[in-house]
């Protein structure tokens, strides 16, 4: 049935599982993405060429050893593949859903054809693991007696907490919301990442002994001084300060940050109360400003809520359809991506600069904008924009969602209290070992590197956990993406 491993890529074609049809999936907020069957997963794994220079592994921030788990799947060794996957990634079922898959962009098969469906394989392995009961709590055998506080329970915080706990430290996670997960819970819509998926993982952490304290905003609900009781502190508060528009009419009602809109919808899906005024797109003309992932999430959510019309506008020009010389393989190509939400409807426009909003009765009614012309990139890759003369236009709208990205962490609570140094971009500054300007206070994830992908957050959480372990124990046996651990022996035999 299967060819030799070397020739698999010549025998099998790229194949993705079918998603639920648009007409079906927009009816609710359930996950709609298809999963590869085990048999299909194996076939797709067979396409992996086990490159001696695995560009996928290089491109993956987590350092997922993709050829290795593919090889195990070729041999139908699911539990081993899961173990392999977990050796670099705490939450493969999550990254298997939400990661943009830089690995696939770097796949050698992609040079001349279509890459291996790495993300589907990852997800299939992880889901198989849950279904087969292979993913169990792994509490530490011994406790070290050290306590660690993790502030923020997004992907970075969760990954760090799990690693630290497994190393035997007693971990308390502080979360300002009522539910752990950070953006995984309230940022990403449920139709992309089912909330049960996150809760399932949090359940594992809890069973392993991680203590979660929700509704505990450090610096507000909980005094920052409490952190002084811990042997080490890790800040994974995320990059939550959203970028806004400073133009006339921006304070009109009906103009909201995307995250507020998305959070409300998730609370609704989870059957939770919504505090304050409800934002809904039902029967409205919706404009989403910002063409990134969050913008796309707003589009999908608006359509599900029953919006009359959805526009999605973007300042930058429309990206090319294919790679060009400025983004050669294996770099991440900034090409036009059509997300599943875009498939569902809405109208996309590029090179548009929003000039102002006007409204009636304090409510937004019109968006006034102008078309842009972008220059060719200069030697540093920068483009200059120019308004196209007399191209002003107006769109009627009832709801405007700002998905313009995030600036940096909110600096006014715990960061301020601890007096941490920030970097030029307003993120928490650390050394190579993730330690901030204060001893035993560490930072990781978006709060440290700025807004980024979940895989980067998990990566930083894991590496920071290892650094904390070294700081506490003098040596760490926690795994790292980039080192086998000879550099963290620290017991006098280490050469460093």
């Amino acid at each position: 049935m299967f060819p030799s491993k070397e020739r698999g890529f010549m025998s099998f074609k790229h194949e993705e599982p079918a998603n639920l049809p648009v007409s079906e999936r927009v009816k609710n907020f359930k996950e709609f993405a298809g999963t590869l069957t085990p048999a299909k997963t194996r076939q797709q794994a067979y396409r992996c060429m086990d490159c001696a220079l695995p560009f996928c592994h290089y491109a993956c921030p987590l350092g997922n050893v993709i050829p290795d788990f593919n090889d195990l799947i070729k041999d139908d060794k699911w539990p081993e593949a899961l173990k392999q996957l977990h050796s670099t990634n705490n939450f493969p079922e999550i990254t298997g859903r939400v990661c943009p898959a830089p690995c696939e962009a770097a796949c050698v098969l992609g040079i001349t054809g279509t890459p291996v469906t790495i993300e589907y394989i990852e997800r299939a392995i992880a889901e198989h693991g849950w279904e087969a009961g292979l993913i169990m709590p792994e509490p530490p055998e011994q406790r070290t007696g050290n306590t660690v506080a993790v502030v923020g329970s997004g992907p970075a915080g969760l990954a760090a907490a799990q690693q630290l706990n497994r190393a035997g430290h007693t971990v308390t996670v502080f979360e300002r919301h009522d539910e752990p997960g950070g953006l995984l819970t309230y940022g990403i819509p449920a139709f992309k990442l089912g909330k049960g998926v996150v809760q399932r993982r949090v359940g594992q952490l809890k069973a392993e002994g991680v203590e979660f304290r929700c509704n505990a905003w450090v610096g507000k609900d909980v005094p920052t001084s409490l952190l002084g009781e811990f042997d080490a502190v890790l800040l994974t508060t995320g990059s939550t300060k959203a970028r806004t528009l400073d133009i006339p009419g921006a304070d009109l009602d009906g103009i909201h940050l995307a995250v507020e809109f998305l959070t409300q919808q998730t609370r609704r899906v989870m059957g939770k109360d919504i505090e304050g005024k409800e934002i809904t797109a039902k029967d409205e003309n919706v404009i989403v400003i910002g063409g990134g992932d969050t913008g796309s999430d707003c589009v999908g959510t608006s359509i599900r809520q029953g919006a009359r019309h959805v526009w999605s506008i973007e300042l930058l020009p429309r990206p090319p359809l294919e790679r060009d010389d400025t983004m050669p393989w294996p770099l991440w190509p900034a090409i036009l991506r059509t997300s599943t939400s875009h498939e569902e409807g809405g109208e996309r426009q590029w090179s548009i600069l929003t000039k102002r909003f006007t409204g009636e009765n304090g409510y937004v009614k019109h968006l006034h904008a102008v078309h842009l012309e972008w220059s060719e990139p200069d030697e540093f890759g920068r483009r200059k924009m120019k308004e196209v003369p007399e191209s002003d236009f107006t769109i009627d709208c009832d709801l405007v969602l700002l998905a313009l990205g995030f600036l940096h962490p909110e600096q006014d609570t715990v960061i301020q209290d601890l007096g941490l140094e920030l970097d030029a971009r307003g993120n928490i500054k650390t050394g190579q070992n993730f330690q901030t300007s204060r001893p035993n206070v560490f930072a990781a994830g978006d709060a440290h590197r700025g807004q980024s992908l979940a895989v980067w957050a998990i990566h930083e959480g894991r590496e920071a956990a290892r650094c904390i372990d070294i700081a506490l124990m003098g040596r760490s046996d926690l795994p790292s993406a980039t080192s086998h651990g000879y550099d963290s022996l620290g017991d006098g035999t280490a050469p460093y």
Binding site: E6, R7, F9, M10, M49, D50, C51, A52, L53, P54, F55, H57, Y58, A59, G63, V65, P67, D68, D75, K77, K83, Q84, H86, S87, A106, V108, L109, I111, T112, P140, E141, Q142, T144, Q163, R166, A167, G168, D325, P328, P330, L331, M473, R475, D477, L478, P479, S480, A481, T482, H484, G485, Y486, D487, L489, D491, G492, T493, A494, P495, Y496
Partner: protein, 1516 residues
């Protein structure tokens, strides 16, 4: 005296020599002066086998041994005023003395004293008359004063006793000179001191001999025998004493196992006892002359054996045994003789033709593989001449009664006392029956039993995972090395080169094994094909206590006999129980004299680095104590590691005990067995045995296999099968590692130390690996301990281990948490981007990644930095266009890479004015003409590799450079294989083979077994294309500089030094990782030796191996390179993404594949490659401007502009010292340290000029001519230049057509020299009356050659040798008829010639891929080994042929209808051309004999032919 400095990378131990040897003898012992004259004549006719260095008049050495010329000396004695007694009652010593009078007098005094001391009578001195004007100036500079000393035999001694006393005197005198502090004492040397023989020799060329020594011209100077030698050394400064012959012998060859032999001999001599010597024996130690050449040391050992009482023949047979273990038909008594003597001493292994004499008997022996030619004639008047070539002496042909050759492993002996030739069987029978060897063996030797079933692995306290970590196992060890070994019984294959750091530069702990690199044979001796020539290979060994070498008793063979050095757990148990009664596991029946003791090699992990040193002292002491307590087998065991106990690296433990015992001179008292969890790959076992282990039990490897089985990784029956396969894979690998250096037996490989260390401190090596070369210093015990403890710490985590798995390794497949690689995803992507967009900024990023040593500490050049210098404006630096002409691309065959990739590189290099390389495998002549676009797809460099695929006259004529590939960085010393499924039609066409049939490239060039052979091939190629340059590709290893010097003396125009890290299409992984050295070392050594030998300015030096940036080029130039080769980088530019799957034909980017579908994916463009090289040149120009160099020539060899940057932060690299690499050799006056002049190839002296003159009508307008020509052995490569000139003028070839048959017909009379008719083309016919030497019809490209004995010859031609070894090597077409017998390796790699011959030696039709061979007589052993195509017909009169045929790839059939007519046709032509009565007889009785013909048909070939036929039929 001038000598080469050892401050650089040069090491004098790696000097090599090749030569011509010969002798003449009157069988009856009748003395005459004629013999002397003939001896000199033989020498003169061998002159082309010798060499001269920078001074053309200074030869490398020549000499002769004669019987002491009594008549002559008697007359001399009268003048000297002393009485000479009867012959035999006095001895003459030939003594080289210091030039300074005082030192000379002192030496002479000491000699006289020694004579008196030993109770003999000193008669007097005679200054040997010499004419110093006869020799070159360089030789004169070092010329000693030569005096003869006369000694009268003392009372009570017979001649043999006297000879023994003379040996004692020589030893005593040598020691006395050494001990008294005469400054010039090292010039003292006794060339001979014997009652029977005298040796005249010196640093000269043959023709100078008679003038230099007027004695030799005196008519009274008489002898019945003369043994002569002409030397070709790699060094220009060979010393006088190293001229040959030595006291007993002249040697053409090389002893590869010397280091081990020396070490063992040192221990052995402590136990010497002989009633013949009595107390004197002590005066003989040390037996071996420290620092002498391999031949000299061999001579020392042989002398000891002979003087110890064995016959000369017996002693020689001990040192150079026949290949007995795999011999199908050896009589048992002879086998027992060899088995018994294996318990006494290991063989001295290596290619050798040794001619020896004790003054009464004279003989010669050939090594087991027959790698040196030796031909002889016997005349009716009882005269024998033997030499490396035939035709060295003019003898009337009608007087000759026998023409023969020495056969592999066979001895040829003439006893002048008995007045007859004694044949090999008789000689060997005589000593095989001397004692009841078989009975002694049966009663005393213990054979290690193979257990019927392996017991499951012994469980230890520590878990498997813990122990795997302690011993540094990686996931790659399991997945890439061990699992395939256990699954397939073969070593795993990989491709592309090695870009990971040297062990000492890696920041990860490395196994001690990784600090060693395998040495390998190149040029001076051939590697062996351990697969196809398995008959000479053996892994059998014995271990246990050795006894007095000078005696033979039953107890001598109280040893343990092992079939293989890799032993199972159960077998180890057996050994452990030896001498420990009562046995439990194994049945009784144990024999006396064997007792094993286990020594633990663990150390206290808590004691840190000091603990290791202490433990080493402990195990050494325990080893000594055990021996004192009667142990004969020591088991070094690292069983029992745990949290507190770490293992001493097994190699360190082995080396420590081995060398401690060597120093204590008790090494031969016991065998060493290693029980260790560490060894797992082939290299590990090679190292352990190479440093003295007799057997290795890799218990953890077995346990790991058990685990792999349990985890379902292996698809096998069970544990037994896994173990069996794994051991088989290791065995195959070991055989290959041994064969790479030309060693055939494990017994002599053991402790031969065929390795170079890199990154180990001299102190460490001196103590634990004494005698191993380590040139750049490095880590010591402390760092080794640290590495061991790091692994140990990883195995015992402070918390529960969180690492879910073993260390990923990352040596073979890049992993983020594995080993660093220079070529990683980032650098590959950046390089591709830079070259495609021709973007300087991106290129700089790439160069920065590679050059920045902090991030990429992978190479030695990373440890160097440029010194500050005065900048010059960049405009003053020579332009990019000039620089890129120095760039070449690597040899990648069309076959290993696709047509698209191959042509892209060629077009790019032609656009730049650089050169691309065909690689092995021919080139389509369609590419020889420019395309309409103006691009030329022709590769300027045509490679000539061992397979000679596609090497036709046309191919060579259409080249700018012809490159002889001696070795390849990724797998030096190994051959290659192109599997049948890759031999597509187009590939088969240019390789002159059959599509679908596997092609094998042998490990050696079968026409290069020695340096003089290489000189011959260079000469051949130069004749084939007088307009092209000849280059020789070598791989960096210690001694490569001396080989390069030899290559330069052999007139190559260019020498290429390849780094070990270069790429490959397919190579065993152990070779990719563990063989060869970085080019920095090889290049520095080469430059250094060439400059100091004054050979540099006449040869171009090129370097390659992971060359990527302008900085790499700059450093290479500063270290001495004129030109620079790149392969991996341009491939990456063409789209290569380092899949390392070239060997699988599945390259997804269309480069290393022939699959049409995948080839479509190729995206490379010539302009990208052009961009890349220009960017590299641009970077180089910047560096040149910074360093103040205007031209590359100015910077070549300016190592003083570099400095070592010791990198204090790196815990291992900081221990290095690159001073030897940066040594700047002193230039001779008026010379340049770059290539500035041309070699003198001596082409103007070629006989072909005469022939071409006579053949002018054919050359001018193809008019047929017939001409006559007298030929001699000194006329080499006859007919080649003529053929090439015809090809060139008439544009002949694959598409250009051929000349009509017999257009040029040359009637030749005499003895054809080497390479007669090489590359002769269709339409050229040679009709030789006489005989021929080696390499006849090499690369025959359609020509016709007929050889028959001279009409005057009276013997039966079919029983005599007519033509030499390696005939028709790589022939692609033509026909030949030989009325007589051929030597070894007839038709090797023939792919088109149709040939008839009347008998052949061993390895006939080896590697043949096409053509037909009809053999009308007996064949030797191993016929058709590796034969994948073509057909052979053998006339097997007595039905014994099948036992001599290697049936690995062929089937034997009777003749069918079709072949009957083929054979008949061949016979008829043979009859017509040669008048062969054999052919006539067969034809006459055709019906009666037709069923005696055997058709030898390669299986694959038969299958492909029948498929083709079926297709043909279907088409009709």
């Amino acid at each position: 005296m001038r000598a080469i400095s050892t401050k650089g990378c040069y090491d004098p131990r790696y000097e090599h020599e090749g030569c011509g040897v010969g002798f003449v003898v009157n069988i009856d012992g009748a003395k005459s002066h004629t013999i002397i004259r003939q001896g000199i004549q033989v020498l003169e006719n061998l002159v082309h086998r010798g060499a001269a260095g920078c001074d053309p008049e200074t030869g490398d050495g020549a000499g002769m041994i004669v019987q002491t010329p009594h008549r002559f000396f008697a007359e001399q004695a009268e003048q000297l005023k002393f009485d000479l007694p009867e012959p035999g009652a006095y001895a003459v010593g030939m003594v080289f003395l210091p030039q300074d009078a005082e030192g000379r007098a002192a030496c002479m005094g000491l000699v006289e004293e020694a004579i008196k001391e030993e109770g003999q009578t000193f008669l007097g001195w005679r200054e040997v008359p010499r004419d110093s004007s006869a020799i070159g100036w360089l030789a004169r500079e070092n010329e000693p004063v030569i005096e003869q000393v006369f000694v009268k035999r003392g009372p009570g001694l017979d001649v043999d006793g006297f000879e023994r006393k003379l040996l004692v005197i020589r030893r005593v005198a040598e020691r006395a000179v050494r001990d008294c502090e005469i400054s010039s004492g090292e010039e003292f040397y006794v060339a001979s001191l014997s009652a029977r023989t005298t040796c005249y020799k010196g640093l000269m060329l043959a023709h100078q001999m008679a003038r230099y020594y007027p004695d030799l011209s005196d008519a009274k100077f008489e002898s019945a025998l003369a043994l002569v030698h002409q030397r070709y050394s790699t060094n220009t400064f060979p010393t006088w004493p190293l001229a040959q012959p030595f006291r007993f012998l002249a040697h053409n060859g090389e002893i590869n196992t010397l280091r081990g032999n020396i070490n063992m001999m040192a221990s052995r001599e402590q136990h010497f006892a002989s009633p013949l010597f009595g107390e004197d024996i002590r005066k003989l130690r040390p037996v071996l002359t420290c620092g002498a050449s391999d031949s000299a040391i061999f001579d020392n050992a042989l002398e000891m054996l002979v003087r110890g009482g064995r016959s000369m023949a017996h002693s020689v047979a001990m040192m150079i045994p026949e290949p007995w273990s795999g011999h199908e038909s050896m009589p048992d008594d002879k086998r027992a003789f060899y088995e018994y003597h294996a318990c006494l001493m290991e063989p001295w292994d290596g290619p050798a033709s040794i001619a020896f004499t004790d003054g009464v008997r004279i003989g010669a022996v050939l090594d087991r593989n027959g790698l040196r030619p030796s031909r002889y004639w016997v005349t009716a008047d009882n005269f024998v001449v033997m030499a490396s070539e035939v035709g060295v002496l003019e003898v009337p042909q009608e007087k000759i009664i026998k023409k023969g050759r020495l056969e592999p492993g066979r001895m040829f002996l003439i006893d002048t006392e008995q007045g007859r030739i004694v044949d090999d069987d008789e000689i060997k029978k005589s000593f095989a029956n001397m004692r009841p060897y078989r009975r002694w063996l049966n009663q005393n030797r213990v054979t290690l039993p193979t257990s019927p079933k392996e017991t499951p692995p012994v469980q230890e306290r520590a878990s498997l995972l813990e122990r795997q970590r302690v011993f540094g196992y990686t996931l790659e060890d399991l997945a890439i090395l061990m699992a395939p070994m256990a699954q397939n019984g073969k070593e795993p294959i990989g491709s592309m080169g090695n870009d990971a750091p040297l062990a000492v530069l890696s920041d990860r702990p490395q196994l001690l094994f990784n600090y060693f690199k395998q040495l390998f044979a190149q040029v001076t001796n051939p590697p062996i094909d351990s697969i196809r020539e398995e008959v000479v290979m053996s892994l059998e060994t014995t271990i246990g206590r050795e006894r007095n070498l000078l005696d033979e008793t039953p107890e001598h063979c109280q040893q343990l006999f092992l079939k293989t050095p890799i032993i199972t757990d159960a077998q180890l148990e057996y050994i452990k129980e030896l001498g420990a009664p009562p046995p439990t596991l194994w049945p009784a029946g144990r024999k006396a004299g064997l007792k094993s003791v286990v020594i633990s090699t663990l150390f206290n992990a808590k004691a840190g680095t000091k603990g290791l040193g202490k433990a080493l002292d402990r195990i050494c002491a325990e080893a000594l104590a055990a021996i004192a307590g009667g142990a004969t087998i020591l088991i070094l065991s690292d069983r029992g590691v745990d949290k507190d106990h770490a293992p001493i690296p097994s190699l360190l433990a082995t080396g420590a005990v081995h060398h401690h015992l060597v120093r204590e001179q008790t090494r031969t008292e016991c065998g060493l067995v290693v029980e260790s969890g560490e060894p797992r790959e082939v290299m590990h076992f090679a190292l352990l045995t190479g440093y003295g282990a007799g057997a290795v039990n890799p218990y953890l490897a077995f346990e790991t296999l058990d685990d792999l089985l349990a985890r379902g990784v292996l698809n096998l029956q069970g544990f037994d099968e896994a173990v069996k396969n794994y051991i088989r894979a290791v065995e195959k690998g070991l055989l290959k590692v041994m064969s790479k250096i030309g060693i055939s037996t494990q017994h002599s490989y053991r402790s031969a130390q065929i390795f170079e260390a890199i990154g180990l401190s001299g102190r460490l090596v001196d103590r634990y690996f004494s005698g191993t070369v380590t040139r750049i210093e490095g880590i010591g015990l402390e760092e080794i301990a640290k590495e061991t403890l790091m692994r140990h710490a990883i195995a015992y985590p402070t918390q529960r281990a969180r690492w879910p798995e073993l260390d990923p390794g990352g040596h073979y497949r890049w992993r983020k948490r594995g080993e660093f690689h220079q070529i990683n995803p980032e650098s590959v992507a950046t390089l591709q981007h830079a070259a495609r967009t021709n973007n300087w900024k991106t290129y700089k990023q790439f160069a920065e990644m590679i050059n920045n040593r902090n991030r990429t500490l992978a190479t030695l050049r990373g440890l160097l930095k440029f010194k500050k210098a005065t900048h010059i404006p960049i405009e003053e630096v020579e332009p990019i266009e000039e620089i890129v002409k120095r760039f070449v691309t690597g040899a990648m065959s069309f076959g290993s890479i696709s047509k698209e990739a191959h042509e892209t590189l060629a077009i790019a290099m032609n656009r730049l004015g650089g050169r691309s390389n065909t690689g092995e495998g021919g080139e389509d002549p369609a590419r020889f003409k420019p395309d309409p676009s103006g691009d030329l797809r022709r590769s300027a460099i045509k490679q000539v590799a061992s397979g000679r695929f596609g090497v036709t006259n046309e191919y060579l004529v259409n080249s700018d450079e012809m490159q002889i590939k001696m070795a390849q960085g990724a797998k030096p010393g190994e051959g290659g294989q192109l599997p049948g499924h890759k031999v597509f039609d187009t590939i088969a066409k240019v390789r002159y083979s059959t599509p679908g049939v596997e092609l094998i490239s042998p490990p050696p060039h079968h026409d290069i077994y020695s340096i003089e052979d290489l000189a011959q091939l260079i000469h051949d190629l130069k004749n084939a294309n007088v307009h092209g340059n000849v280059s020789v590709k070598l791989v960096s290893e210690v001694g490569v500089g001396t080989i390069a010097a030899g290559v330069s003396k052999g007139k190559a125009d260019l020498v290429l030094i390849s780094g070990y890290d270069g790429g490959t299409g397919a190579s065993p992984l152990s070779s990719v990782k563990h063989a060869g050295l970085p080019w920095e070392l090889g290049l520095a050594e080469t430059h250094h030796v060439l400059v100091e030998n004054n050979l540099r300015s006449r040869i171009m030096v090129q370097v390659d191996g992971q060359m990527k940036t302008g900085r790499d080029v700059a450093i290479a130039a500063l270290l001495g390179a004129d030109e620079f080769g790149f392969a991996t980088a341009p491939l990456i530019v063409c789209g290569c993404v380092m899949m390392r799957k070239c060997h699988l034909n599945t390259c997804p980017v269309g480069i290393a594949t022939q699959d049409p579908e995948l080839r479509r994916n190729f995206r490379g463009k010539p302009e990208h490659v052009v961009n890349y090289f220009q960017l590299v040149a641009r970077e180089l120009r910047k560096i040149m401007a910074e360093l103040g160099f205007r031209t590359v020539n100015e910077m070549i060899g300016r190592a003083d502009m570099l400095e070592f940057d010791p990198l204090p932060g790196h815990w291992k690299a900081k221990t290095l010292d690159l001073a030897r690499v940066l040594y700047v050799p002193q230039l001779w006056e008026g010379e340049t340290c770059y290539c500035s002049k041309a070699q003198d190839h001596g082409i103007d002296k070629a006989l072909d000029h005469e022939i071409m003159e006579k053949a002018r009508p054919a050359l001018e307008n193809k008019t047929p001519v017939r001409l006559e020509q007298t030929i001699r052995n000194i006329n080499r490569t006859v007919g080649t230049m003529l053929s090439s000139e015809l090809t060139r003028r008439h544009k002949l070839g694959m598409y250009g057509g051929h000349l009509p048959e017999d257009t040029v017909w040359i009637d030749c009379k005499g003895t054809a020299g080497q390479s007669f008719g090489a590359f002769a083309i269709h339409g050229v016919t040679f009709y030789v009356e006489g005989e021929a030497n080696d390499y006849l019809g090499k690369g025959l490209s359609g020509g016709k050659i007929i050889v028959r004995p001279a009409k005057e010859c009276k013997f039966e031609a079919e029983k005599n040798i007519l033509i030499g070894n390696v005939v028709l090597y790589g022939a692609t077409g033509g026909e030949c008829y030989f009325r007589g017998v051929a030597g070894e390796r007839f038709c090797v790699r023939n792919s088109g010639a149709r040939v008839v011959v009347e008998g052949v030696g061993d390895h006939g039709c080896e590697y043949m891929t096409g053509g037909r061979a009809l053999i009308l007589g007996k064949t030797g052993r191993n016929f058709a080994a590796g034969m994948s195509g073509g057909v052979a017909f053998v006339y097997d009169e007595d039905g014994t042929f099948p036992s001599r045929c290697n049936l690995g790839m062929v089937d034997l059939h009777p003749l069918d209808q079709e072949s009957i007519s083929v054979v008949q046709g061949m016979l008829e032509r043979h009859c017509a051309y040669t008048g062969s009565p054999v052919a006539k007889g067969v034809l006459d009785q055709w019906r009666r004999v037709v069923d005696k013909f055997v058709q030898v048909m390669p299986r694959d070939y038969a299958r492909v032919l029948s498929e083709q036929r079926a297709k043909e039929l279907a088409r009709r």
